[in-house]
């Protein structure tokens, strides 16, 4: 028995949806491409919102609850937008032994932000990671994609302050809205 399965229309004319669609097409719209597709949504939009999850679910013919279950199982997937800058503190064993906890405490005290959260002004997202593989540089953090190692808390805070003052990093593009 094969029932007709219509492909849903793209949520909007934002060209980034085409990237998402391309990933699904490359995988023959198979249900096992779900994680790949969510990666591609996150690469394109920065996070996974309800519109995107529903679009992916419909395109791959995967139940909504399953898509949501997968999206929330993996720690790398974000359901909320990121801040303008991100700081990922490595909490792997080597970094832990060499004081990753102090870095997290410093961020908490100075920026009033818990790991996994974004500051109220949307400037900074603080995350922790289980080993970024830079154990030789412990304690390390990844600031806007760049690994900085052998960090004292003051050095990390200073580096983050520079980011915000320089305003060089482009803000992530605004999230595309579906046409009303």
């Amino acid at each position: 028995m094969s029932l007709h399965r219509p492909k849903p229309p793209l949520p909007s004319d934002d060209t980034r949806w085409k990237l998402v669609n391309a990933t699904m097409r490359r995988n023959g719209y198979a249900d096992h491409a779900l994680i790949e597709t969510l990666h591609s949504v996150q690469d394109a939009f920065g996070f996974l919102d309800e519109t995107a999850l529903r679009f992916v679910a419909a395109s791959l013919d995967v139940p909504l609850s399953k898509v949501f279950g997968v999206a929330t199982f993996y720690h790398l997937f974000r359901l909320k937008p990121k801040g303008r800058h991100t700081c990922v503190v490595c909490t792997g064993t080597a970094c832990y032994i060499k004081g990753a906890g102090v870095l997290v405490d410093a961020l908490r005290a100075h920026h009033q932000v818990e790991p996994g959260e974004t500051t109220a002004d949307g400037a900074l997202s603080v995350l922790t990671a289980r080993c970024v593989g830079a154990c030789g540089l412990a304690p390390a953090a990844v600031v806007d994609g760049e690994v900085v190692g052998k960090l004292a808390p003051e050095a990390l805070l200073e580096r983050l302050d520079q980011l915000e003052h320089a305003k060089t990093a482009p803000a992530p593009p605004p999230r595309a809205r579906a046409p009303a």
Partner: protein, 243 residues
């Protein structure tokens, strides 16, 4: 006028469970055989008619010659195997597992609509759990009473996923799934929205009937009034998936 079905060759094996000689088809699991012979093996996630999940670990048994314990729900019988289902060690482990479950969420039996008809509560008594040695985890979840017929109380959920499996395997709706990870897992309908807003739920109520605790219940029931009826399950399972 069906002809003789071409049965795949399935051997019958003999083995021993708690000093009782038994025989069964080699594609049967230990728990199936034990239930058939009324050898009590506790379980909260296993339910005849649903796929095995292997999550509650209460059905662990000892198999002579094997260093590790085996979950009876996911272990097939083997010729000559010798199984112990009720040793002092197993009883101790089961007590601890039940304690851990009680301590994980706010299972307050005295004010539960399933009081007196709850598998977790019954099991605690059977295992001799009269208190929890560990403190209760300090979390609470909202109750979703949005559905006009049913209610979900996550504080009473033990994450056995019977609801997820019955919805997927028997009803075919796959409204339920599990979100999150670890102790933060939660059963969800569709995109974790209120149950009433689910686009896929057929309101069939199977999830409520298979739920072992007071997590999924009918609206309008008071303390102790929620009695579950699961007789439909093996019947539907046979109709849906003929062997």
């Amino acid at each position: 006028m069906p002809g003789p079905a071409s049965q795949p060759k399935v051997r019958v094996v003999t083995f021993r469970v708690d000093d009782q000689d038994l025989s069964a088809r080699e594609d049967e699991t230990l728990i199936e055989v034990c239930r058939e012979h009324r050898i009590p093996i506790p379980s909260l996630c296993y339910l005849e008619g649903l796929s095995a999940w292997g999550g509650c670990r209460l059905c662990m048994v000892e198999i002579v010659g094997q260093p590790r314990l085996a979950a009876a729900c996911s272990t097939r019988v083997v010729e000559g195997m010798e199984v112990h289902t009720d040793t002092e060690r197993l009883r101790r482990y089961r007590r601890t597992l039940v304690e851990l479950l009680f301590a994980e969420r706010a299972h307050v039996c005295s004010v539960c609509v399933s009081n007196g008809h709850c598998e977790l509560q019954t099991l605690a008594q059977r295992c001799g759990v009269d208190h929890m040695r560990m403190p209760r985890r300090a979390v609470s979840y909202p109750v979703d009473s949005s559905h006009e017929m049913f209610r979900v109380d996550h504080d009473r959920c033990i994450l056995c996923t019977r609801c997820v499996r019955v919805c997927d395997e028997i009803e075919g709706a796959h409204t339920w799934d599990v979100m999150g990870r670890g102790s933060d897992c939660r059963v969800i309908t569709d995109m974790a929205q209120p149950w009433a807003e689910s686009e896929t739920c057929t309101s069939c109520g199977k999830c409520v009937q298979v739920c072992p605790t007071g997590a999924l219940v009918k609206q309008g029931t008071s303390v102790g009034e929620m009695v579950k009826d699961q007789h439909f399950l093996p019947i539907l399972a046979r109709r849906r998936h003929p062997r």
